[in-house]
Structures are given as structure tokens and as C-alpha cells.
């Protein structure tokens, strides 16, 4: 019983090998062509596989619910629903590229929304008919609040050397608590109609929500900065080997502060966008934003250890949970199946990253 097994295993293995050999060779010669090497490089990253997964999911849902899933209405509402998350996930990508983490984003978003709304409600007046000056002030306050929390995170991480996980857990609690204290736990529902109009407005042949355009612009800029500029290069260099970056003369502390400040600022922008979309502060609506953003970044192929990150991957990572949610809902399953599926994808993403690291460490 035991004796023939090794030889059978060997036979099977050699059969597979001889069967795969021509394939492998063809792949090998293909990957040496110019186009092929681009493809090969792309599929050595997580982002390409995740993109494939997204396409397959959309295909499956469209097949199972024809005429319901890939409709203009559903695509638009999915895009609108991920816009806010995408903005904070872009900032989170930069933070995680440095090997850090920002747990505070969801509550900094909330805090910024609250301070912004309260500024526009200053003195208890009804801001419904306020002009652009008030709206602009509210915008500046939202951005400024986010920036302030981000700089604080950066200082605590870079200068006080408190690990990012704890530093941003601390500011998560602080920003959450202060948002509740400032608002008395009550949602502010009176906002200038200009903001509500912005949240509801559509551009590009009256089809694309303005908030989606804003989010996509943020993502595009983030992608360009991360992959083509010195700022992006330093960001991944620090995540890859902080000591090497320091020895190369890079001002690591300053750069880390800038990266956390950027994450906070984007959370502030997201807070304002959230006001525009929901026309209220939605105090209880952001409990999971931070974890969703982190999950999106990780699913998108950014390494938990830092050093490897793409904004394109993050964008796909934001979309996958949304597609799952929408698909399961349309098919009549409980939307909690999304959480089950996203959890599995998340683990898979980190597992493949670990595999990649282990493979290269063996050299």
C-alpha cells in the first residue's frame, strides 16, 4: 500500500511537469517580449489579480441578475457609495506604504464633518440659505480639522516614536470623543442647500455624481504622486527600509509627518463630502470606515510591512466589497455575506504577500 505511492506520486509529478513544460516555455518566451514583460510584471503584483477578481465578480453577478446589476442606476449608486471611502483609502495607502497604519481616519472624518457643520451653524442660526462664503468657510474648517489630526498623528509617530497602531488608536478615541462632545451626540441636520445641491449634482452629461469625480480625481493624483514623484519614491523607500532611507539622507521624520498629514487632510475632505452626500453629520455612520479603508488598501496589494503600494490596487480594493454588497443584495442574499467574502479575500491578500516575501527571503 505504501510502497507504490512514491513512484505514483513521482509519475504524476513528472507527467504534470512534462505537460506544463511547453506551456511554461511559451510563457517564458512571451514574458521576454516587450508587451509580455509588462504583463508578466503586472501579474507579479497583487493588483492585477485583484482586478481580475473584480471583473469576474461583476461578470458573475451580471450573469445571475441580468439587467439588474450592471445598470446605469446600480453602477452609479455603487460609485457614489464608495466615493468617500476611496478618498480616505488613498491617504491610508500612503501611510501603509511607509509601513505605518492610520486607524483614526474614520473618526477624523466624523470630527471634521462635525466641526464643519457647526461652523456653518455658528450661533444657532439656520444656515439653509447661506451663501458660498459660509460653505467655503465650512470647507476650510473640515480640511483644517483633518490636517490638524494628521499632523498630530505624524508628530506622535515620527517624533515621539509611538508605534502607529497605538498612536492612531489614541487619536481615534480622541477625535471620536471630541466629535460626540461637540455635537452632544446629536446629528446636525441643517446645512446650506448649496452643499446638498453639490452632493446631489451630476456632471459629464448629467450622469456622474460630482462626489465621484472628486474621489476619482483624488485617486488619480494619489496614483501619480505615489508612482512618479520623489514624494512617492521616499514614501515606499521609508516603508521598505527606514534605516536605509535615513542613511541615504532622507529626512524620514519630516516625510512621515507629511504622509500622516496627507491622510488626515483627505479624511477632512471625505468628511465634507459625507456632509454633502447625506446632508447631515451621520455620527453613527463611520464606525467601520477605518477598517474598511485598511481592508481596501490591503486587498489592493499594499504590503502590511510597507514598501509596496499602488493606488490603483486600493481603488480596486475599495470596489470589491461594494460589488459584493450590491450583488448579494440584488440576488436577495443577506448583505452580511459581503463581510464573509471580504474577510476571506483580505486573508488571501495578506497570505499571498507573505508567500512573496518568504520566497524572496529564501534567496
Amino acid at each position: 500500500m505504501t510502497a507504490p505511492q512514491p513512484s505514483r506520486a513521482k509519475f504524476i509529478r513528472s507527467a504534470i511537469q512534462t505537460g506544463l513544460k511547453p506551456l511554461a516555455e511559451r510563457w517564458g518566451s512571451f514574458s521576454r517580449t516587450r508587451f509580455g514583460s509588462v504583463i508578466a510584471r503586472a501579474f507579479s503584483t497583487n493588483a492585477a489579480w485583484i482586478f481580475l477578481l473584480l471583473i469576474v465578480l461583476m461578470f458573475i453577478f451580471n450573469f445571475l441578475a441580468p439587467g439588474k446589476f450592471l445598470t446605469e442606476f446600480n453602477v452609479r449608486s455603487m460609485a457614489e457609495n464608495v466615493a468617500v471611502l476611496l478618498v480616505i483609502a488613498v491617504g491610508e495607502t500612503f501611510v501603509m506604504a511607509t509601513g505605518g497604519i492610520d486607524l483614526s481616519v474614520g473618526y477624523v472624518l466624523l470630527f471634521s464633518g462635525v466641526t464643519s457643520a457647526q461652523t456653518m451653524n455658528w450661533g444657532g442660526r439656520d444656515p439653509t440659505n447661506s451663501g458660498w462664503d459660509v460653505v467655503l468657510l465650512g470647507f476650510v474648517v473640515a480640511i483644517g480639522s483633518g490636517l490638524a489630526w494628521g499632523v498630530l498623528n505624524g508628530l506622535i509617530v515620527a517624533k515621539a516614536k509611538v508605534p502607529a497602531l497605538i498612536a492612531t488608536l489614541g487619536t481615534l478615541g480622541m477625535s471620536w470623543g471630541l466629535a460626540e462632545i461637540l455635537s452632544n451626540g446629536q446629528d446636525l441636520r441643517y446645512l446650506p442647500t448649496i452643499i446638498a445641491d453639490m452632493g446631489a449634482s451630476r456632471v459629464i452629461f448629467d450622469k456622474v455624481p460630482l462626489v465621484v469625480v472628486v474621489a476619482v480625481t483624488v485617486a488619480a493624483m494619489g496614483a501619480v504622486i505615489l508612482s512618479l514623484t520623489k514624494f512617492g519614491r521616499y514614501t515606499v523607500a521609508i516603508g521598505s527600509n527606514q534605516e536605509a532611507a535615513r542613511r541615504a539622507g532622507i529626512n524620514v521624520d519630516r516625510h512621515l509627518i507629511l504622509v500622516y498629514a496627507m491622510s488626515g487632510t483627505l479624511a477632512g475632505l471625505a468628511g465634507f463630502m459625507s456632509l454633502a452626500i447625506f446632508t447631515t453629520t451621520t455620527i453613527s455612520g463611520h464606525a467601520n470606515d477605518n477598517l474598511q479603508a485598511i481592508a481596501a488598501v490591503v486587498i489592493g496589494g499594499t504590503s502590511l510591512m510597507g514598501g509596496v503600494a499602488t493606488v490603483a490596487g486600493t481603488t480596486i480594493g475599495v470596489c470589491i466589497p461594494m460589488v459584493l454588497f450590491s450583488g448579494f443584495t440584488i440576488l436577495g442574499y443577506q448583505s452580511f455575506w459581503r463581510d464573509v467574502a471580504v474577510g476571506a479575500v483580505l486573508i488571501l491578500a495578506v497570505y499571498t504577500d507573505q508567500l512573496r516575501r518568504r520566497r524572496r527571503e529564501r534567496r
Binding site: 512618479l228 527600509n241 539622507g249 504590503s303
Partner: protein, 254 residues
């Protein structure tokens, strides 16, 4: 003999209870290859790190071209023309060879794009190919992350990086430890070439034959102090070994 280019005087460095350097002196003269040798734990790497600004001395002073200098950070050392190949290489493993070569000194695009922070990757890749070529390293896939290179290739990337930028002194902490015969010869050739370019080279190595072959002078550390100095010509392996292991009296005490 000319005045020293770089001098360390009475450097003391403690790590908690470990006395890594106990009043260490060290001299580098212009246009020379000086080997810094000593047993494991003698303090060679620590001394280099202090001279390169990655560590700060507890006591002692550093003199460059007759002026006392303060090397508060690697950046300051680099600005003074001092480059280092660290024993632990200090590369960013997720970046490619060219990105590592130019880390901290990126070439920017011309004009407005450059001002906006856009990198000129094409120029940097061409420069990297040339620099690696001189070291006899053929990076088959120049865009592959440094982590995917062999240990020797990685070492060559680190050497190329320092050699390319040094204008006064380059420290090489065991730069040939992981290299094959051909690459070792190339690195040593490169060390000679930078000396001929007017840059002093400090070579840390445990390979005595290599040291005798290439060094103009040899300085020996033991237990955090300089204990002996030799001219490269005429020294023998026996002399070096006995100096490293305490077979001869300490310099100064003698």
C-alpha cells in the same frame, strides 16, 4: 607625509554597558587605500558609523582637512563628500537597483514637471546601468526589486551607490564578503580606481591576503582602540594577526 584628510581622535562609544570604542584614533590620508582590520567586535563598524554620521560618538572629535567637524547625520557626511557601504548594506529591498543608487539624490525631470516633483527615471536607469556595468554586474532585469537579486548583486548595488557619489572618502565595510571571484576583483579594481580619482578609500576586511594586496596602509583595532599601524608594503600576515589578537603591545603604551 601629507596631512591627514580625515582624523578620528579619542572616540568613545558605549552601548549601555558595552564599550564599543574606548578612545579610538584613526587616520585617513589623501589618495590612499587604508585597510581597517580587527577581530569580530573590535569596533570597526561602530567607528565607521560614527564617521559616517549614522551614530554619534559619546566623546572625541572628528577632523576633516584640518577642521574639526560635527557629523550629526548621514546627510551631513554625504554633503562633506563621505560615502559608506554598510556591512548590512542598507538598501531598500522593494525598490529596484536604479532607485537605490539614486536614493536621496533623485534626478528630476526638466522644467516644470521636475519642480512639481516628477522623477526622471529614464536618466536614472541609464546612469545605473553604467555604474553597475563598471562593477561588472549585469542586472538582467534592471527593474526588478533589489530583494530579488542575489546577495552578491545586492552588495554590488551598495558599492556602486557609494562609489558614484563619494568625493573625499568612501568607507567600505566588508564590501566583498558575499562576492564571487570575478565580482571581488571588480570591487577591488573599483577601489583602486576611486583612489586614482583622488578619493580616499577605507576598506574593512577580514581577508588578510586581500588587505595586503590592495592597501597602502593598514590600521588595526582591538577592543575599541587602535593598537597598530603598518605600511601596506612589507607587512606580513603574521604581524597583522598578532596585532589583532593582542600579540604585541598597544600603540602608545609601547
Amino acid at each position: 607625509m601629507a596631512d591627514p584628510l580625515l582624523q578620528a581622535r579619542g572616540i568613545v562609544k558605549n552601548y549601555g554597558h558595552v564599550e564599543a570604542l574606548r578612545g579610538c584614533d584613526f587616520d585617513v590620508y589623501p589618495n590612499e587605500i587604508v585597510a581597517l582590520i580587527g577581530d569580530n567586535g573590535a569596533g570597526k563598524s561602530t567607528l565607521i558609523k560614527i564617521l559616517a554620521g549614522t551614530e554619534q560618538a559619546d566623546e572625541g572629535e572628528i577632523v576633516l582637512e584640518g577642521h574639526r567637524i560635527h557629523v550629526g547625520s548621514p546627510f551631513e557626511a554625504m554633503r562633506l563628500g563621505i560615502e559608506t557601504v554598510y556591512q548590512d548594506l542598507a538598501l531598500a529591498p522593494d525598490l529596484d537597483g536604479s532607485a537605490n543608487l539614486y536614493l536621496g539624490r533623485e534626478v528630476m525631470m526638466a522644467g516644470l514637471l521636475g519642480k512639481l516633483g516628477f522623477l526622471d527615471n529614464k536618466t536614472m536607469r541609464a546612469g545605473a546601468r553604467k555604474a553597475f556595468g563598471e562593477l561588472g554586474v549585469d542586472l538582467q532585469n534592471a527593474q526588478s526589486a533589489v530583494a530579488n537579486l542575489s546577495g552578491g548583486q545586492r552588495q554590488s548595488v551598495a558599492v556602486a551607490r557609494s562609489v558614484a557619489w563619494a568625493s573625499k572618502v568612501v568607507f567600505l565595510d566588508e564590501p566583498t564578503a558575499a562576492l564571487g571571484v570575478v565580482q571581488t576583483a571588480r570591487v577591488l579594481e573599483t577601489v583602486k580606481r576611486i583612489r586614482d580619482r583622488g578619493v580616499a578609500a577605507v576598506l574593512i576586511s577580514h581577508n588578510m591576503r586581500q588587505v595586503l594586496e590592495i592597501a597602502d596602509r593598514i590600521e588595526v583595532l582591538r577592543l575599541g582602540r587602535r593598537v597598530a599601524r603598518f605600511e601596506g608594503k612589507g607587512a606580513t600576515i603574521e604581524q597583522l594577526v598578532s596585532a589583532m589578537t593582542g600579540g604585541i603591545a598597544e600603540e602608545g603604551a609601547a
